[in-house]
Amino acid sequence: MAKKALVVKAKELKTDVAVVKDFEVSIGRIIDETWTEPVGPTPFPSITDLREWDFKLLHRYKPMYMPFCDLCCLCTFGKCDLTQEKRGACGLNMAAQQSRIVLLACCIGAATHLGHARHMVEHVIEKFGRRYPLDVGGVNVQLEAPITRLVCGIRPRTLGDLEDVLDYLEDQVTHLLSATHTGQEGSNLDFESKVFHAGMVDHVALEVADIAQIAAYSFPKADPQAPLVELGYGTIDTHKPVIMVVGHNVISSIGIIDYLKENDLYADVEVTGLCCTAHDTTRYSSRAKIVGPISWQLRFIRSGIPDVIVLDEQCIRADTMLEAKKIKAPVIVTSDKNCQGLQNRTNDPADEIVADLVNGKVPGVLILNSEKAGEVASRTALEIAPKRKKLKIVPSVKGIIEAAKKCKLCNDCTRACPEGLPIPEAMREAATGNVQMLADLYETCVGCGRCESACPNDFSIHSFIIATAGNILKEEKFKIQAGRGAIQDVEIRNVGSPIVLGEIPGVVAFVGCANYPHGGKEVAEMCKEFADRRYIIVLSGCSAMSAAMYKDEEGKTLYEKYPGDFDAGGIVNVGSCVANSHIAGAAIKIANIFAKRNLRANYEEIADYIYNRVGAVGVAWGAMSQKAAAIASGCWRLGVPVIVGPHGSKYRRMLLGRKDNEKDWYVYDARTGDRVYVGPVPEHLFYTVETKEEAIVMVAKLCMRANDTSKGRAIKLTHYIDLHKRLYNTMPDDIHLFVRTGADIPITMKEEILDILEKKGWKEGWIPDPTLLPRLIRKRKE
């Protein structure tokens, strides 16, 4: 009922564009008489309200499908063979099927963040009350929820206000998911528009989850000086009982830290984690530690160091129970989404549960109460640690050499390995006593364990790699800045102009998972490259961790070397995956705070602004999850291009511009209504690369925007050309597409570029006030 009322009210508003004040939602909770900003055209947009905007983007960036399978097997009509223009029994073709799968992935991603957000909001409301204020940055952050304001048209002031937002989001995901049913949507472009909608919904969910936890748990509040915290296996004091937390929802980890603090035990126990829960534990307590990204799960468990493993939700290995059993570490699962077949002991006395875990009576328990989970985890760790004696299952090097002699050299491992690592060759070497080749695989191995499942000899190949790499793991001692959360309004004020004019050449976001093609080092290298060039670097999730795992000659990590300010040359860790919202939020804030565009329910105009003016690019170098797909989709709808590493090709659809089709690259000049050619800026919206070098050059290129001033364009071109020359060993072949007037030409390369322009038959153009939206034209020509 409530949801329906909300939507009805929103629809009424839409008929009266941009004039409704004192927006009141009839379910009665969001009454904001103080926000005088007019309501824009799309409060709480339905799944078709932004379709026209999506189609404008999809017209430029036509989807290229890369089917991952020839078949559709979603219903019992099938399987259907969709190869080469065949249609399924329901009439669907391959393009629609691929876009449908992309939509499914994005719905999974959005639902996951949304489920997380709902749990977080309910939990903190129970603890702190609905009226608890949403303070995410004190006086420095007046614009506390830019995405929510933009999409929903409301200004959430308290935790309770977020519930209404979640109602809307859940409604949308349901509709989106229903569109994937057999015999529903049949147009690939409409599926794509829905993908964008799922992405937008996802971004709101991210924001809700993160601002709720920042406010309730006093995480760093838009703090460029957020503390440096410890990261890496080597930072963990293995003499202490160790609690390992994995996942994305920090509530149970907070239960642990609170229990330890209240009982004066925090100094006696190490709380350390992987993936985003680890990020968020360090935002809660700078004494908590991070082991590393998602791909460190197996290696850390097998090291025997964790005494208790606590799982919440998302990105947890499904075989954690099996691995934990081998090292005799009990597992506590704490999320209703991830119960692992364990008995629900939520209502049992803590004493009994602890006794059962310590005595090995049960391998693990489900506890759906964070305080109890915190107590049980802490007490179990303290009691079991002396018994376990850090039992590990990593074999000795001698044992590995003996095993290697029995290797069949069958290649099953390398054929199962996502990276195609040369394991058989390494085994052949190991059989001769030289394990160096095995050790060398450490940097690239993503810790998936697929090689082991494939091996007919049941070799623990991943463990072989870890064991032979020996000290590398122990020497992993790094510093990372704890996730700072939002970007301050004043920071936006300072950088808004140089970004929009192009003088800060770009904002580059390194986000997402750790399915890297050649290890995490490439993330750090890319960050350094652009920070040194005075781009603004923002990071989140596993990428933020990987960027911390490399040191310079002085032994410093990027976070020690570069400031954490959202400014040219800054390296900014916003936090966990849900903190990605602050990256999108920063782009939105530029449009609002710097450019004074109305934000409230004004999605299309703000996206048009960002698309044409804010040189932001996302790089998801190791993206693999459905959540990453949803986050990327939210960026696309906002007009922010995303580059993925080579494994990202498996997302099965790219959004590619065609710089050779001149007609695709016209905008309106908002001053005159003229149609103006602005060149392919940005050239692609979603694009997968083969190599780091290719990614670097493309980042520089995709930061160009139609609105760049000549000074800004010259700066951006300088970086693009310089990087292209260094990494491709030649001039780019498309410079003429990015020079609009003579003043755009970088002064130091004038002769060379003029020569190229002449050969290409280049003609001088002009720089419009660019928009894709005819309604924003201020004065039409007669």
Binding site: M64, M66, M94, P418, P646, L656, E690, T691
Partner: protein
């Protein structure tokens, strides 16, 4: 002849590449092609092909059979270093996207390509790019010159030993009149 995907799980479905059982197959395809094109990925710089690198082999092949080359990723410089300017360079997804476009007139503006040879792109990425072409470029024949079976190509070698692969590549070149 049946062949298996090199990465075990990368199986496509009912439509699988025909297996190149002898080098003459490729030779005939190239000779018959009106407008062939050769796409070379970054791994060609590191992969050994007999006494040379794969990139050197592709240069020989291109010169011998007069096939224009597109260098993907960042390796145009490697071609230039070897004194061989490729006909073009662009991302692997971009050349694939153009090849599936019935309106695209080619690098020289003279019309569509009818045969596309690929080599040196990471296996799983090449796999999926071939899939695009298999489904959406029905008039294009694709050939994988890589050592491993690429089921989404029109024609591909089966998984070969280094020795057999080198011999096949050598035979293709010599039968086309090269050294």
């Amino acid at each position: 002849m049946q062949a298996e995907s090199w990465q075990t799980a990368e199986v496509p479905g009912p439509t699988k590449a025909l297996v190149i059982t002898k080098p003459e197959v490729v030779v005939a395809m190239v000779k018959r092609a009106k407008r062939p094109i050769l796409i070379v990925g970054h791994e060609a710089v590191d992969i050994d092909a007999g006494n040379e690198k794969l990139i050197d082999y592709t240069i020989n092949l291109a010169k011998t059979a007069h096939i224009p080359v597109v260098a993907t990723a960042h390796i145009v410089g490697e071609f230039l270093k070897r004194g061989f300017p490729p006909a073009g360079w662009m991302p692997a997804v971009d050349i694939t996207n153009r090849l599936r476009d019935p309106e695209w007139k080619g690098l020289d503006g003279k019309g569509r390509y009818d045969v596309a040879l690929f080599t040196g792109i990471p296996y799983y990425m090449q796999w999926i790019l071939f899939s695009t072409l298999k489904h959406f470029a029905l008039n294009l024949k694709t050939i994988s010159l890589d050592r491993f079976y690429q089921p989404n190509a029109t024609w591909s070698f089966p998984n070969l030993s280094v020795k057999d692969w080198n011999e096949n590549l050598g035979a293709i070149l010599s039968k086309l009149g090269g050294e």
